[in-house]
Symmetry: C2
Subunit: 124 residues, 2 copies
DNA sequence: ACCAGATATCTTGTTACGCAAGATATATGG
DNA sequence: CCATATATCTTGCGTAACAAGATATCTGGT
């Protein structure tokens, strides 16, 4: 994928760090409805999250590899008459369980953050 | 600080990764009401977040150092007649600005996650 | 016919950060 | 007098996001 044109790379920000640990949840969620191939996921995330959850292919492919290696997704190659071969991923049974687990962990974490940021920080 | 006794270290989970990038926000938020020292923050987080945002001292001190080095917090040593010397941290002006920025970035990210997880993942 | 660009995958190296583990020092209670 | 609580700091490990580069196929324009 071509790197985004000039746009605003001013802040390398903490967005990169925030994504840590949430990407697997994101990918598993996206696969929970049906199969998809890597490049498709990259473009879908770029378009559908308004830049909030953008991912480069150099980031996504290792994620998919990790998920496959862990048995959470299964793979199918498809080589159409015309076009580049695509590698389709789909959730496995244990992938669905993992999705539920990650979803729960995310909710716990995000809930704790929300709760903390809401209260007046009276440390003492 | 002594490492927690046996308890449940079964899942090293993704909690570690999720904390990435959010710790600075957490600390700046905790300091936004008044000053505090490191050990105090560690125990406060352990008690007040029900394990959701626990942090060890080996994690927190480098965070504080980073924040100090960036000029977001200022430091004051206090050596009471009795007791171990304490290093008190307080927000600076630019620390307040940074807090606002991080808060905004967190809201954007958490919002994008919530939005994504809410929708049916119709990739195509 | 050719070449730029889109489509599609994979790999290597860099960087940053959370954390375990260990070190140090002072006060307190049995 | 010694274990425990309080308080700080440091080193090394593992991991994951990403930039950058490589490769290959198809499409569109001139």
């Amino acid at each position: 994928m071509a790197p985004r044109p000039g746009e605003d790379d001013d802040r390398k920000g903490i967005a990169r760090e925030l994504k840590r640990g949430s990407l697997e949840l994101i990918v598993l969620h996206l696969l929970s409805h049906g199969e998809a191939y890597g490049y498709e996921i990259v473009t879908a995330l770029t378009e559908r999250s308004n830049g909030g959850l953008e991912v480069t292919d150099g980031t996504l492919y290792p994620v998919l590899y990790r998920l496959e290696r862990a048995g959470f997704v299964a793979v199918r190659w498809e080589t159409p008459q015309r076009g580049v071969p695509r590698k389709y991923y789909r959730l496995t049974k244990s992938g669905q369980a993992e999705l539920a687990r990650l979803r729960h962990e995310w909710n716990t974490f995000a809930g704790a953050m929300a709760s903390l940021l809401r209260q007046q920080p009276e440390i003492t």
